[in-house]
Amino acid sequence: MNEQNTIVEQPTSFAFTLENMERVKNHIAKYPDGKQASACMPLLDLAQRQHDGWLPRAAMDHVAEVLDMPPIRVYEVATFYTMYNLKPVGRHHVQVCTSLPCWLRGSDEIVKRCNEVTGTEFGKTSNDGQFTMTETECLGACVNAPMMQIGDDFYEDLTPDDVERILNALKNGETIKPGPQNTRHGSEPVGGLTTLTQGAAKGEGS
């Protein structure tokens, strides 16, 4: 996240599209007059989505201009949060959680399979431009560990084979249903209820 990492070919200009400019206005309108700087984070996200998933310096400068902030204040925000990418990413941004619960549930194996399928590793983009791998801290889905995030979607309860299936599908342009990849729908127990199995619930249900 330091300056060296951002030495990439930077576009010279950036401007929100007309459609996004409407969204910008909506975001700014959420805050009191004169507190427009509060909209910095959603605007950076908007800019990132408009610009192939990463934030060039011109985009940060543009956000600063729109919000009447000194550019450095925007750089501070953009470099602080890991969800802003300051260099180009592949078509699919694969973020694998390696924090403790995921690690206990086998995230090492998940990472290994990711590396094999994508042909790249953490911090890098694959040669075909399809995948960028990023190691992340806890994404808050520990109850479905191990997990990874691709784009905006969480893929949970992973096995190495699931990883291979998901990544290959994405490579072929197919879509995979996000969420738990085993039999679960959410975070209920895998083998059916283990507590509260008696009483009112029993009488009504299965």
């Binding site: 330091n2 300056e3 000194p70 550019p71 450095i72 750089y75």
Partner: protein, 696 residues
Amino acid sequence: MRLSESNNMTKLTIDGQEVEVEAGVSVLQACESIGIEIPRFCYHERLSIAGNCRMCLVEMERAPKPIASCAMPASEGMVITTNSPKVRRMRQSVMEFLLINHPLDCPICDQGGECDLQDQSIGYGFDKSRYTEEKRIVEDKYMGPLIKTSMTRCIQCTRCIRFAREIAGIPDIGTIGRGEHLEIGTYVEKALTSELSGNLVDICPVGALNSAPYSNKARSWEMRNTESIDVMDALGSAIRIDSRGNEILRIQPRLNEDVNEEWISDKTRYACDGLNKRRLDQPYVKRDGKLQPATWPEAFDAIAKQLEGKDGSKIAALAGDQADVESMTALKDLMGSLGSQNMDCRGEGWALDAAQRASYIFNTTIAGIEQADACLLVGTNPRIEAPVLNARIRKRYLMGGFSVAAIGPNVDLTYKHQNLGAGPQSLHEIAEGHGEFAQVLENAERPMLIIGMGAIERGDGAQVLSLARLIAERYGMVVDGWNGFNVLQTAAARVGGLDVGFVPQQGSLGHGGIVAGAANGDIHTVYLLACDDFDSAALENTFVIYQGHHGDRGAHVADVILPGAAYTEKTATYVNTEGRVQLSSRAVFPPGDAREDWTIIRALSDVLGKRLGYDSAPQLRSRMAEINPVFAAYDTVSPAAWGTFGESGNLVDLPFTSNIENFYMTDPISRASQTMAECSDVFVTQTHGGKTGTNG
């Protein structure tokens, strides 16, 4: 502070002692009020509170954890402990964490000997490290030619960020990244475009931001410190001159709440290397069309020979921007005894009226700016004419309820202001009460006006002054207890020269007349007292005596050169733009045969047979007090009486500009300075240029 009333006090107990403090102060300030020193890195009394270094931890009764005393407001009934073993242990732990990534390079660090971290590690540091992992290394950043960065030493107190944002008004520095990867920087590489950037070096509690020109020159304990006064602008900032042997190594600010608080401009701080270059260290006399080294008697003889049998009323004298009051007084007296009143210290600013003190000083006073509620700037760019004063205006602006408008150059002053136009037309509109800002002035309780030398140093200067006076009177700027009319001088010598009356009497010649008279032969001899900033080519056919310290423009046309002393080499009187009489101190001796300025004139008077009536500086100073009673009291400002000045008449329709084009080169010292030349390259010649490649 203004809100404080005697009944608005808070009582608390610190280390068993009952303390009563004003409501709203922090626990740290309450501790300081009874002389308990709390260690700190991030806290600075002139900056906002960050509370991130954690060094100021103290114990508070009934609090489960230690509290950061800098960020905790003192409140009624608090019981604070600052010296328990627990507090000590907590601070030691904080210190251990701070030192984890701090390099052990004190022996090669310029901050060594005057480093907060070093000092406090004596009190709270362990004698050995328990940390065996890899230390973090941070790449150094480029922040311009004045600041040398060693970012690995940074402890991320963020003082520099807050200084840049709050005091200097250039929000260019920030924290990049987070956690262990957090770095202080500008993100986009660029030099800090502030005239106050040198203060970052003082504000940095460790050796991360150091002075580039002073890099590896000396250790702080080897130098002699002399408390003195700055002459690079007309503020007379309090400075400390650090010298070793006969060389001045650096200049640092001293505290003077009334003038510079604790800041100084980059020119004040960094032009001192110009004191060692292009110096006049012995007398010269022109023989066979060429200046040749001479002795003092030879130089005086040449002058005596020139004046022998010639009409004394056809001699003239001009005093420059850094001349001291003593030498101007002596020269004025000498000129009088030779029979001439052709003298001027005002340069192009001939419209300044020496008879009306209120018409040429900064009446509001610098600290008084904080009481004003509206300000009109006329023909001035205070950011480069007096950066520290500009910081004071910004400070007032940040307090709120203060509107600023400018007539003249449309520049970034580091605070929001309205530009009303560039020329006299806009000034007329204000004078006639038209426009939005006229309404603001009308409603203001304590309006002020600052008129720059750029608006006075022009052909219609007297008319501009007159119009400014009418504006001041119309909007009630001059009332009992408040005078909002201010002239922002740019030359340290000016107010002193006017106070002592170094101006032509009725019927004799002023600056313009002298220069013209020299060209057409009406004047046969011109005495230049450190006077360089004018078109000296006109003096080529006249006999010119140049007394000064640098081989600058004036020396180029001289027939006799009398080597004088620079401001660091004499104990001399200067009057700042507020009319504050201050005394500088000699830090080192003038080089070679050069002498203190007034003694040269005194010696010359002997040779000319017109012996001046004072043999010592105290005698000369009582002569000054005789001429003008303001010289009886040093370091104070007394209000000047309001009167009528200026001349009514039409203004020439030319835009007002600042009289300074290049902040870094305004006088012989800064023109001789290598550092100022580099700054000029980076900031003026190639504005927005960034790195020049000379930084290595």
